[in-house]
């Protein structure tokens, strides 16, 4: 069965790039444009990994991560955050919120796939 990855980003370009890269690597991909939408999709789909941008309208990435971690069902859902390079503070905030890891954007597709494989198992 294909693993299902949810990409959460307000940038359509970014979502489409993530989706394409991961689909090419054999994943199913869901898309959401903000945290709120992501929560809705996670509630109705068996999602194996969330890749979330941090700065989004309606509900930002950190809030999304905290909300998910507050739900017992999603305490161990892998969540990767997309962040701009060298943003250590964000990385640490993400870690505290419960992120599993981070990827800088713009991302290198092969890197994205390799990290996704690591956390998806």
């Amino acid at each position: 069965m294909k693993k299902k990855v949810l990409t959460v980003d307000d940038s359509r370009t970014m979502r489409e790039m993530v989706a394409f890269t991961l689909k090419s690597a054999g994943y199913d991909v869901l898309e959401a444009s903000d945290g709120q939408q992501a929560l809705g999709l996670i509630g109705t789909n068996q999602v194996d990994l969330v890749i979330a941008d941090l700065n989004m309208p309606v509900m930002d990435g950190l809030t999304l991560i905290r909300r998910l971690r507050a739900m017992p069902a999603h305490r161990s859902l892998p969540i990767l955050m997309l962040t701009t390079e060298a943003d250590d503070r964000k990385k640490q905030e993400g870690r505290t919120a419960g992120a599993t890891g981070w990827i800088v954007k713009p991302f290198n597709p092969e890197k994205l796939v390799s990290v996704v494989q690591k956390v998806c198992g």
């Binding site: 307000d10 370009t13 890269t21 090419s24 054999g26 305490r75 640490q92 713009p106 796939v113």
Partner: protein, 751 residues
Amino acid sequence: MEDLSRFKQTYFDESAELLAVAEAGLLRLTPGTADADEVNAIFRAVHSIKGGGGAFGFTDLVAFAHEFETVMDLVRNDAIPITTELVDTLIRANDVLGTMLGYARDEAPVPPGTGDAVADALRRHQSAPPPATDAGPPHNDLDAAFAAAHAAETTHPDDEDDEAGIFGDAMAAILDARNPSAAAAGRQRWTVVFRPRPDLLLSGNEPAFMLRALRRLGEAEVECHLDRLPGLAELDAEQLHLSWTITLLTGPSVDRERIADVFEFVADECDVTITADAPPPAVPDAAAPLPDALRSPSGPSVPAAAAPPPPPATPEPASRPADPAAPRAKPAENGAAQHAGLTSHTIRVDLDKIDRLVNMVGEMVITQAMIAEHVRELPPGEFQELLEGLEQLAQHTRELRESVMSIRAQPVSSVFSRMPRLVRELAGGLGKEVQLVTSGETTEVDKTVVENLVDPLTHMIRNSIDHGLETPEEREAAGKPRTGTVTLSAQHRSGRIVIEVADDGRGINRGRVLAKAVEKGLVQPGASLSDEEIDHLIFLPGFSTAEKVSNVSGRGVGMDVVRRNITSLGGRIGVYSSPGEGSRFVLSLPLTLAVLDGMVISVGEERFVLPLTNIVESLRPKPSDLHGLVNRCDVMMARGEYVRLVHLNRLFGIPGATEDATRALVVLVETEEGARLGLVVDEVLGQQQVVIKSLEANFRRLDGVAAATILGDGRVALILDVAGLRDMSRQGGSAPPRAAAALPAPEPAAV
């Protein structure tokens, strides 16, 4: 990577939207009243443009966006105050970003110096002192706190490089959850088979170090295999004859690669197989079903079998451990994988496809009408099921039509959002103070209509600010607030969209308009025109009231062009004006350009279609309802008000129709603007959806006729333009040219 270039179009489309969002936000940014959401939206827009630009290697654009983003970040954190000067800089920065995107889209190099001045201005704002209220450097404290937390809590090391990282602890928790049995023991079990080549020692490597390194990863049980050990006589002390099987119990944070890393320097000099043991079958595994694992007993001959289920679901013997991350997944090698089921909220569809769908639905509507027509000729009482089925078909056709049309519908906000900037620029250029109030931005209308609204609205707003509004001084002198107000609104009314552009300025100067019209030979000298008629003179071709050509309105474009644009969309424009109080321009446009619900009526041998949205009711008048005006039966009492009767047969010169209104039917109709009249017709044949066909494509526009359609029997019927009929009848039935028809020409001549 090559593959990502396919997203450039998405990026440019999205960036254009983001620029518009940023611009709208910036225009609303006024000193002291920053809305956090608004500022954040601008920041995000710039951030996204920068992010995508980075992916495609648009370095100049990214560098500039970075300066812009940095300033927006400061604004966002209240680190710099919002001043008029800052807002101006930001608006200019947004423009520069747009210019740079243009170069990127055209694959042209960015000319040196582009945006330098703005970038400098942005940098100046970055170094502006923070507001005095900003207490201390909280960020550093936070960083320190995070660092401390990190140091204190981390028990599993992070796996990171420059581009990505995985937090060890978080990953460990996930692996624990994924593999409850191992988690219970706190461990993952690995079987590592290590078979060095005999000459491993010659390269200065020592197997013992590797075994020790493995042990550091967890609890290791090491079994040494002596099967290749020669007899003592043949023993070469320089050669290695041993191999090992290590059973490793590790924490969940240890993955295959970390184990493989141990053998990194001896990759070419040994065979290593790393197998993750499956958890006991009894344990339900939420993450994914694992293939049946071949448990690896001791002994080098047993191949590795089971691995955690990675998407490319083959376990990898780590025979090249030195190159762990190498050819994991080659994206897009497998064509089928690309078409893997993407689930998404939205899809982007080529407009042509939608238009084909629209056309198809149009043909279906005609076919359905045709069937209905034939069925009407069947003997009554029979074929009940057929009739019911047809009724359903009609219903479904209607729903299908509505759904298809709604695909093309878009909110007018994309047009409205361009106007604040225009207002700002015009006000600045003309020395006027203007406030723009918009409402109904979410009102939806066909995409073609939305797109074609930009020019007319732009011009109307220009007109309002340039000609309508007074200078602040004039306004004060007239006892009005210095700031003039321009109102832009949209709403649905009677199946059409009505857009108004109103100002509270001086109103139309009728004396001047009339004089100008006479001077230009548009009106006979001495002609007596009503106020309303004078106001409408501004729509005449070549008419311009500006006494001196300003650089705002005087571009050779007049209200006549506005009217032509609106008319070509099947719309109408009108103006209401009160001297000293202002003017109001009202546009009324059809919501779609393809299909409408109509009532088929007959007059003599001819059949016509009346748009359902215009029909109030149909009545058969009693003689007592009818009243003569000047000896003609011209007026009828309907619902307590007098309504003028219009005999369609007289207006259109149709022979053989019923002259006596008491024997005919009166269809009470109402124009979009609320004017009522009674159309005298022979019969009302029934309601049906009709596909709008252009009369102009092969012929020309006709007064009182909006368009044509094809009825179920294949014959053509004209779709009536109620407002046009009203105008015709007011002019005594002659055919004066009217500027507007109610419906557009949707169809190019299909040749």
